[in-house]
Symmetry: C2
Subunit: 333 residues, 2 copies
C-alpha cells in the first residue's frame, strides 16, 4: 500500500515540478468535481505531454466529463491506483476532489494550481497565483520540459485559458496570457470553433429558462439592484439544473447601472440559494456574510430559508442597509 | 480649393504609409458612419500618434460618437478642411462616410483598412486583409514610425481589436492579434473595464426587449430553425431602436442545434427587415438572395413586405427548400 503524505506540503518551483514528472511514472491525474475547461484542459494537456516522453498516465475525473469537451478528451491508460503517482490539477482543496476525495484526498503527491486559496493538502505544490488559469502553468511546464505539444494538447490548453478568463475578458488576464494564446495559435487549434462551443452555444431549454427568469426581473433602490428568480417550477418545466443555471447570475451583473445583481434559486421546498454580484462601493462578501454565507468582494452567495418573498425581503433589507451606508459615506464594518 | 483625387487608387506598403504621414500635416481623420470600436479606436490612436510627432489633426465622425467610448475620446484640433490631408480609417467604401460622403467622398488621400471588400476610392490605400481589425494595422504603423503610444491610444487600439474580434472569439483572430494584445497590456489599459463596458453592459430597456423577444421564439424544421420577432410595438414600449437591436441576431445564432437563426424586425407598417445567421451546410447569402437581399455565407439579410405572419411564411418556405436540398445532398444552385 502507498503511504499517505505526512501532512506537510512543500512549495516547489517550475524546475522542480518538471524534475518530479520526469523522475516518476504511472501517474493518476485528478481534476476537481463539476469539471470545467481549466481542470480538464490541464489534465489532458499534461496527459498528452507525459505520453510524449513515454510515461503511463490516467486522467480520473470525479464526475462525468461533459460531452462538449470531447474534442480534446481521449481514453487514457489503465493505471494501478495503489502504486500510482498522484497529481491533482487546478484543485484548490482536497474536498473539491468530490467523490474521489476519500480515495485520494490524503494521497496527492503533486498539485499544480493557480488558486491563491490552495489549502496545501498535497506533498508538493507548484502554485502560480499570477496565472489566469492552471493551463497557463501547464503550458509553461511543457515548454520548460521541451515536451512536444500535440494538437489535442494545444486545444486543451487554449480551452482552459479561454474558459477561465471569459475569453480574455476578465481582470485575471495578463500580457503573458495573450502571449501564450498567441503561441497556441501556431498549432491547428481552430480557436473560433472552441469559442463557439464554449461561449456561444445555448441549449433550447436554457433559452426557455432565461425567458422565464427575465419575466421575474424586479428592480429596487432606484434601479441599482436587480433580483432574478429561478423557481423549482421553472427548473422542472425546462429540465434545467445544476450547471445549466450558472449563466443566470451573469445576466444580473450585466445590467447598466445595477451595482447589486441578485439571483435567487430555489433548491428545496423553502430553501433558496442566493448569488450576489456587486460593483463598487458594494462588497458582496460582507453582505452575504450577514446572511450567513460568504465569498469574494464582487461575487458571493448564501443559502436562505423561507418563502420566495420572505427570502427576497431578507436580502433587500441587507442590501438596502449597505446602499444607505454607501450613500451616506458611512461604513460601520 | 483642394483638387479631388483622379479616381486612380494606388496600393501602398506600411513603410510608404508611414512616410506619407510624416511628410504631410493638418490631417482630417474620418471614421465610418454608425461608428464602432474599430473605426473610432483607429482614428483616435492615429490622432494621438500624430500629436506625439507635432502634427495637427482632427477626428471627424459622420455620426454622434456613443458616450461609452469616452475613455479614449478627446477633443481634437481645429483644421481647415479645405486644405487638409484626408485620411479615412476602417472605411471600406466612400458611401460608408454617410453624412460626410458628399463633402469628402472624392477627396480621401489615404485609407488604412482591413476589409478585403475595400472599393479603392482613395488616392492611396494601405490594406491588410489578414488583420483582425484596422486597429491592428494602426498599432503596427505607430510601432514602425517609432511614435510613442500614450495610454489613451493604447486603450483605443485595444478597444478596436477587442470589439472587431468579439473579444478574441472569432475566426479573424490570429497569432499576431494576441501578440499585439499582449504588447498593449504593457500599458495601463485596464482591459477588464473596457471589456465590461463593451461586452457585459446591457441597458434595462434592452433586457426588457430581450424578454419580449424570447417570448416570440418559434422553432421549425426539427428545431434546426429559430425565428425571433421584434415588432414595432416592442420597440415603442421599450424605447429600443437601431443599434440597440444588433444583439438580438446573436441570440438566434447561439441556440444549440439551430443552423438557421432568423430575426424579423419591423421597420414600418408592413415592412420587416430580416437578419439570417446560418451554419454549414446552409448558405445565408443564397437564401437571402432569393428573398431579394444579400450578404455573407454565415450572415445575410433582406427586407420583406407583408404582415408578420406572411413574412415569416416567405422566409420559412425558402429555408425549408434549402434544408430539404441539404438533406437530400442535392444542390441546384
Amino acid at each position: 500500500m502507498r503511504k499517505e503524505n505526512n501532512g506537510v506540503c512543500k512549495a516547489i518551483s517550475l524546475r522542480k515540478t518538471a524534475k518530479f514528472l520526469k523522475k516518476h511514472d504511472n501517474f493518476v491525474i485528478l481534476t476537481h468535481s463539476s469539471p470545467d475547461g481549466d481542470t480538464l484542459g490541464s489534465a489532458y494537456a499534461l496527459y498528452y505531454g507525459l505520453k510524449e516522453i513515454g510515461k503511463m498516465a490516467a486522467v480520473i475525473c470525479p464526475d462525468v466529463i461533459p460531452s462538449k469537451y470531447s474534442y480534446f478528451v481521449n481514453p487514457t491508460d489503465s493505471i494501478d491506483k495503489q502504486n500510482a503517482t498522484v497529481v491533482a490539477l487546478d484543485v484548490a482543496d482536497k474536498a473539491l476532489l468530490g467523490s474521489l476525495s476519500e480515495e485520494f484526498g490524503n494521497k496527492v503527491d503533486l498539485t499544480v494550481d493557480h488558486h491563491i486559496s490552495n489549502t496545501k493538502y498535497a506533498k508538493y505544490l507548484y502554485l502560480d497565483s499570477s496565472a489566469s488559469a492552471t493551463c497557463e502553468i501547464i503550458y509553461e511546464l511543457l515548454c520548460f520540459m521541451k515536451v512536444n505539444i500535440n494538437t489535442r494538447a494545444a486545444k486543451a490548453l487554449y480551452t482552459g485559458i479561454a474558459t477561465d478568463t471569459g475569453c480574455f475578458k476578465y481582470s485575471n488576464v495578463t500580457a503573458k496570457t495573450h502571449e501564450i494564446a498567441s503561441e497556441l495559435y501556431e498549432y491547428d487549434i481552430k480557436a473560433d470553433e472552441i469559442n463557439k462551443l464554449m461561449f456561444d452555444t445555448k441549449s433550447k431549454k436554457l433559452l426557455e429558462l432565461e425567458r422565464m427568469v427575465l419575466d421575474t426581473a424586479e428592480y429596487h433602490f432606484d434601479n441599482r439592484c436587480i433580483i432574478l428568480s429561478v423557481t423549482a417550477d421553472m427548473q422542472n418545466k425546462t429540465g434545467c439544473s445544476g450547471s445549466d443555471l450558472e449563466g443566470i447570475a451573469i445576466i444580473s451583473r450585466s445590467v447598466e447601472g445595477v451595482i447589486a445583481g441578485v439571483t435567487v434559486k430555489q433548491t428545496d421546498d423553502k430553501v433558496f440559494k442566493i448569488s450576489l454580484r456587486t460593483y463598487f462601493p458594494l462588497d458582496a462578501s460582507a453582505i452575504c456574510k450577514e446572511l450567513g454565507g460568504g465569498g469574494h468582494k464582487a461575487a458571493a452567495g448564501a443559502t436562505l430559508e423561507g418563502t420566495l418573498s420572505e427570502v427576497k425581503e431578507q436580502i433587500l433589507s441587507v442590501i438596502g442597509k449597505y446602499l444607505e451606508e454607501a450613500d451616506n459615506g458611512t461604513d460601520s464594518h
